[in-house]
Amino acid sequence: MSGYLGSYATLGILLVVGVVLFGAAFAGNRLLRPHRPDPGKLTTYESGVDPVGGDWAQAEIRYYVFAYLYVLFAVESVFLFPWALVFARPGFGTTTLVEMAVFVAVLLLGLLYAWRKGVLRWT
């Protein structure tokens, strides 16, 4: 447990324990349960609904666009946090404020564009 790779030993043991535990749980399950398959049980589980269609179904593009807009603003807030920490310090002030305003304005431009192109309307 010493030396350069020693600290990885814990991780390795955890992995081994994980695999053993997983195997033991499923093996125990297999031994204890009755085994009576029927077609209903063997179909894919889809929240109680009969599964329909293949897995190459077309995804609704609007989900993608909404997720994309969300990522845009999530990234913006990530940048806002470190900025909020330094902006009150001496020597930062107005310039920093203006720079952040420019940054937010550019993102806002994207939102404006999305709005005008009708991306925000669901129907």
């Binding site: 930062f92 431009l109 564009y113 192109k117």
Partner: protein, 520 residues
């Protein structure tokens, strides 16, 4: 307090004047986005063309102003050393814009293909009834203009980036719009979308290599700044291995964009599938940007370790020239032929780069501009040869064009002779410059391969010429469209510069010579 928070953070000083050209381009691209969002459909096209051209001309004027006010002689670093405003940087920015203006003329053309070369609504399923309807009636969408401004602004940022992170951000800024622009062809939309997906996936791979290389070099030098990497290369006690792995990964990312063998496989498919004006933009401006980045990395960060890596890049240069030339011989499609020729030309620029001395820089800069103008005019002519399916790009369809359209065939012959490196064309002076620089830098092997491959490459070019003049036209031969004012201007500029730089190269070579000093 947390040590990170307690650390002394200083606001980097930004010399806004020195980076004004980049700011103008990116700012005007935002204006373009606003115009796209708020103007009525009929007004968008003229406004976008105007915004696009004004932005590039204003940017170019600012660059010339900066160069005249001695930024070229007294280079500066700004924005916390993230950007370098020096001779090569300004020259490359200017080159990107000059070529960008000509490419914009081709993009803005709307009379050769009715409504323009781009699809009206890219989201309509290709081949559907709605698609046929929009292809017949609706004019091109105009988002292509802000996209191209973003791409050009990113390229300008890329060639003046002075650290690896800025360079990576700029790489993405210019790549992402290009991926989109590739997918926007009006005709043969599936081919165009396929090209865009290929370019995007392979481009994402190459970006991943680039980022991994940045991580390796940061591990080696403890900094992403080129200057610090150069210092660490001499004085660091750490193993060089990390540095060479990092350099190799960076080189893969950059040589992919420059289309060097063996990272070239995307080039023919993308050049063929993309709308021809966008192909012209990629073949000229992207090449300038990619080699701008390669020059800066090799000459600023890795100059002192050149004895170790130069042979490896030399092998890549030889492969690029030879394989590009051989595969060009076998092509039957004019756009693919020009794509392979652009691969071989990347090898010639790389030969100039590997001279690793001052005239290596100046000759590479010169070559990039000469090649850019010629290839813009060549792709401009490709847009004119059409049949009912759009551009007739198969070489057999070009048979006998010399009789049907003597002017077009004449200009195309002249451009082909320039590609082949016949004297009195810019192709000759450019090749002469890079080969003599490489000889001066002791790269005789490269020059031998360069000359041999350009002899080989002359064959496919001359075959097109022979095809146009000495063969009978087919019964259903394509027609030659009358170029609109914008395409005519682009063709005239391309052909005249090709002739001018062939007859009087010193006009540009002197500028390149005086610009060829990187700031460290």
């Amino acid at each position: 307090m947390n040590p990170v928070l307690a650390a002394d953070i200083t606001l980097p000083h930004i010399n806004y004047g020195a980076i004004a050209p980049i700011l103008i381009l990116l700012g005007m691209a935002c204006v373009g986005v606003l115009a796209e969002a708020f103007l009525p459909r009929t007004l968008r096209y003229p406004v976008q063309v105007l915004v696009s051209l004004v932005a590039q001309v204003a940017g170019l004027a600012t660059i010339i102003g900066l160069a005249l006010s001695n930024y070229a002689k007294k280079p500066t670093l700004t924005a916390g050393d993230a950007l370098a405003v020096d001779g090569p940087g300004l020259f490359l920015q200017g080159a990107v814009l000059v070529l960008g203006i000509v490419a914009t003329l081709l993009i803005a053309e709307r009379s050769v293909e009715r409504g323009g070369a781009f699809v009206a609504q890219a989201a309509v399923t290709a081949g559907s009834e709605a698609d046929a309807e929009q292809a017949r009636r609706q004019p091109s969408q105009t988002e292509i203009f802000p996209l191209s401004l973003f791409a050009l602004g990113g390229m300008m940022l890329f060639v003046s980036a002075n650290d690896l992170l800025t360079m990576f951000v700029a790489l993405e800024v210019f790549s992402l719009p290009l991926y989109l622009m590739c997918a926007l062809a009006r005709r043969r939309r599936l081919l165009s979308q396929e090209a865009a997906v290929k370019y995007f996936l392979l481009g994402a791979f190459s970006s991943a290599f680039f980022v991994y290389g940045i991580a390796m070099l940061y591990g080696f030098a403890g900094s992403v700044k080129f200057h610090d990497i150069a210092v660490a290369a001499i004085s660091s006690g750490k193993s060089d291995l990390l540095m060479f792995i990092g350099l190799a990964m960076l080189a893969i990312g950059l040589l992919f964009k420059a289309a060097a063998v063996p990272f070239h496989v995307w080039t023919p498919d993308v050049y063929q599938g993309a709308p021809t004006p966008v192909t012209a933009l990629m073949a000229s401006c992207t090449k300038v940007a990619a080699f701008g980045g390669i020059l800066r990395i090799f000459y600023v960060a890795f100059l002192d370790s050149r004895w170790d890596w130069r042979p490896v890049i030399g092998v890549i240069a030889v492969l690029t020239m030879v394989i590009g030339a051989i595969l060009a011989v076998t092509q039957t499609d004019i756009k693919r032929l020009l794509a392979y020729s652009s691969i071989a030309n990347a090898g010639y620029v790389l030969t100039g780069v590997l001279a690793m001395q001052k005239d290596g820089i100046s000759s590479s800069l010169f070559y990039l501009v000469t090649y850019g103008f010629t290839v813009l005019a060549a792709f401009g002519l490709v847009t004119l040869v059409r049949d009912q399916d759009g551009e007739a790009t198969h070489l057999s369809r070009w048979a006998g064009l010399g009789r049907k359209a003597p002017v077009l065939a004449g200009v195309f012959t002249f451009l082909m002779l320039s590609f082949a490196g016949i004297p009195l064309t810019s192709g000759f002076t450019g090749k002469f410059a890079v080969f003599s620089a490489a000889l001066g830098g002791g790269q005789t092997t490269l020059v031998i391969f360069g000359v041999l491959s350009s002899v080989l490459l002359a064959f496919p070019y001359l075959r097109v010429v022979v095809l146009m003049y000495l063969q009978e036209p087919a019964a259903d031969a394509p027609t030659v469209a009358v170029p609109g004012a914008l395409t005519s201007a682009a063709l005239a500029i391309g052909a005249i510069v090709t002739l001018l730089l062939g007859v009087w190269p010193s006009v540009l070579l002197d500028v390149a010579n005086s610009a060829a000093q990187f700031v460290g």
